[in-house]
Symmetry: C2
Subunit: 485 residues, 2 copies
């Protein structure tokens, strides 16, 4: 360390809630993997691998996934509207179709310039387009005034938790395992995370009795439990909720007056069964039993980062509010105003996601081909990985269901657990670190998401192309087991 | 109101710190102006004006300002890299120059896809480009590891205040008048804003004795004053600090061990004198008096939203840290990781801003012409507005100095103050509301930024084209004064 005089800030006096927040997806392992990547880029040949595989984060376009052509063509025109003065060149020489040009013109007419701030909750016409999509998806009305365009779903979660959490005593039910955004945000807000466990024995299903138990226990301690987070399809588990499960959750939310936060960013990444939106199920319940469910408050989140869109880097998303008090909505509006607005080009991408080319449109055929190819690729890779896990000693993994992840259990020999303890590490972290050092494959240890005491897991995306890296995991695991047996 | 049963959340039980936060720039007046705009768009002819002029917010491209061609050409290629397969068409038919194509290729080689998450602190090569710019600007080294790319400067301020504020007792010195992002963020964090007044009698200069007084008073009350915000050039005042003023501030920061947060987003919007960066002055002091200033911590912020770039909607920016403890930097890195990364296309725009075409480059001539035309236009409009204010009874305004704003004092007759009180409004808010209703011109009342007890101001941008709106303010003011005299 340098000998500069100490400044005002040090690790002991910064915001303790920042200090406490944990975010394993981009933690020590991720940082180390980037160091390896930089080393390899410098031509270093010391490492026992030639490539770093970032299977720690759902970042499709960092790996193999190509963006959807229609989306990017429209965005290129939004970025440089001067190109619209050359329609003939676009159409005849650059492969742009008429619907690309029309859409770009329409978006520009509504947003003005993508370099201008929009309304704090997003460009009104884009919010209307989202509302139209939700109506088509669910068969129930949606109102543009209840839609908030956000910088990815993360920023939406941040907004909602900021407004919902009154103080340290506010409790939010969060599934375990979970995407660590939730626990990190609650730590920052100094609110109480009330964990409920998903049921690994039923393919990570949502078990309402587990939710009830966790809620009752927290309430008995005096916690003001006021919201429940549901990630459907699940992250890191991939599990997809049945309509009955959603009804049970909504029923419980109604009884306990819990705000439902439905993280539905993987709604198109479903391999088994069918995605059911919380909004549709809530509206159906309200229709079936008039009056009974009227007080239920639902916030559902979506993003351009996931699905077949996979445009993480653009930071676009939205959330819809159902049943929220107008005065509470005004506070949400004020909160989003403070950071001005979501990136406008990402708002345009949200519009393209919810309103893609339709059959008969000039760009439809290519769009449809690209979309299906991405979907099928993801599914194939998921199964290839799953089959590889099936061959690994002490590893158990349910059949892939959706999202972009697998979350196998791994049973590690006692000697390995001891070796981990000697390093002051959790056993799953120790395992993932050794794997990274040996193979260049970066996973996230289960402890980053939470797991039942005494169980160990890791999360891997199934985005990386090829099978070599899968083979290297199998090989590493064999060596690891042999070493510590 | 509807008769739906009350939900869990209401205005009395949401986060009290969100409730307390104020953000006048996008408050009641702004919302009302948007309603008027929508009315006019529907063809409504009831209103006494034909156009809404949003002079409340520094949003150049919402008004007259065109984006700089070089920037948007490069971004269009980053959005649709397939266009790079048609270089001949780009060059010969679409007016793209070779440096546009080269830059896009370089950015894509460094970022991968703009649809992929980057490193949490931004694409390394773009951080290096920012560091290179800072070295050229200041004549002192800069390190890419100390640069954090952010979603506009607002998100940088949010990050820094989050880490700096330990609890309710943490005090941050904030200039009054100020951009309300600071007070709003401190309210959200439940930390203490320690206001210090700028000196209107010296063209809104920074008066170190006022800072000392405010700091001493807060410390006497037991507040842990640990940082000072300086907005240079000023918002809403436009004032530009002299090198001596900056030395005095840094000296005081050294004595009191205050972290300096230098909001330098208007660094190129300077009409009078010259911009001096805090970094350069700090490094100069450190060179002149070795050892003495080594412990000073400085964070300086920049954005693509302001200057001649004016790309607010893209949400790009960065901050540089100087003298921060590595462990504190690690907390900052973790904090930004939780929201993953700044929009990657906006990161590319940051790179273009700090590394624009140079003399001799194919795109230089047009870039230079566009840049200077924007600068001169802003200056002309600022002076036209200033001259108009000079003719208004009871209005006083210093000569335009920089940024995008004028912040005149207005003396309102006692009868108008009474009428405002009868409506339960501050007098400046009352004035601005009547102005909006009569003319469609939206300003921000001085109370939104803070002002000395007993004084009234408003802030207006000088971005809107034409002179008609200026005339309508003059006319309104005359009528207002006559009515309430």
């Amino acid at each position: 360390m340098s000998s500069t005089p100490a400044g005002r800030l040090n690790i002991d006096n910064v915001n303790p809630h920042v200090r406490e927040a944990k975010y394993a997806v981009r933690g020590e392992l991720a940082v180390k993997s980037e160091e390896y990547r930089a080393k390899l880029a410098r031509g270093d040949t010391d490492l026992p691998f030639k490539q770093v595989i970032s299977a720690n984060i759902g970042n499709p376009q960092q790996l193999d996934q190509k963006p959807i052509t229609f989306f990017r063509q429209v965005l290129s025109l939004c970025e440089n509207p001067l190109l619209l003065q050359h329609e003939d060149v676009l159409l005849n020489q650059l492969g742009y179709k008429t619907d690309v040009i029309e859409r770009a013109k329409w978006l520009l007419s509504k947003a003005g310039s993508v370099g201008a701030y929009s309304a704090s909750n997003g460009v009104p016409a884009i919010r209307q387009s989202v509302a139209d999509f939700l109506e088509r998806r669910d068969g129930f009305p949606a109102n543009e005034a209840d839609i908030y365009l956000s910088g990815g779903a993360s920023s939406g979660v941040n907004t909602l938790l900021h407004v919902i959490c009154e103080g340290p005593n506010t409790g939010i039910l969060v599934p375990i395992p979970q995407y660590p955004l939730y626990t990190a945000s609650l730590a920052l807000l100094n609110a109480t995370c009330v964990p409920y466990y998903l049921d690994e024995s039923h393919n990570w299903g949502t078990d309402v009795s587990a939710i009830k138990g966790a809620c009752a226990e927290a309430k008995a301690k005096g916690v003001d439990v006021r919201a429940i987070v549901i990630i459907n399809p699940g992250n890191p588990t991939g599990a997809s909720l049945s309509e009955d499960d959603i009804r049970s959750v909504l029923d419980f939310a109604r009884e306990e007056k819990l705000v439902v936060m439905a993280d539905e960013v993987y709604q198109t990444n479903v391999f088994v069964g069918k995605f059911h939106s919380f909004k549709k199920v809530l509206r159906t319940l309200q229709k079936e039993q008039p009056g009974k469910y009227d007080g239920v408050e639902l916030a559902s989140l979506q993003s351009v980062s996931k699905g077949m869109v996979g445009e993480c880097g653009h930071r676009g998303g939205y959330f819809e509010l159902v049943g929220f008090d107008p005065k509470v909505q005004a506070e949400i509006y004020k909160f989003v105003s403070i950071t001005l607005c979501a990136p406008v080009i990402a708002q345009c991408l949200v519009e393209l996601m919810v309103n893609p080319p339709k059959p008969g449109d000039p760009s439809y055929e290519l769009y449809d081909k690209e979309y299906n190819s991405i979907f099928n690729n993801l599914k194939e890779r998921a199964y290839a990985l799953w089959r590889a896990f099936g061959k690994m000693e002490g590893v158990e993994c349910g059949e892939p269901q959706g999202s972009m992840y697998l979350f196998p259990t791994v049973k590690i020999p006692a000697k390995a657990v001891e070796a981990a303890e000697a390093e002051g590490r959790a056993a799953d972290e120790f395992y993932c670190l050794r794997l990274l050092e040996a193979t260049g494959v970066c996973l996230v240890p289960g402890s980053g998401f939470g797991q039942k005491e005494g169980t160990l897991h890791f999360r891997t995306t199934f985005l990386a192309p090829g099978t070599e890296w899968v083979g290297s995991i199998v090989k590493f695991h064999e060596d690891f087991m042999n070493k510590y047996r």
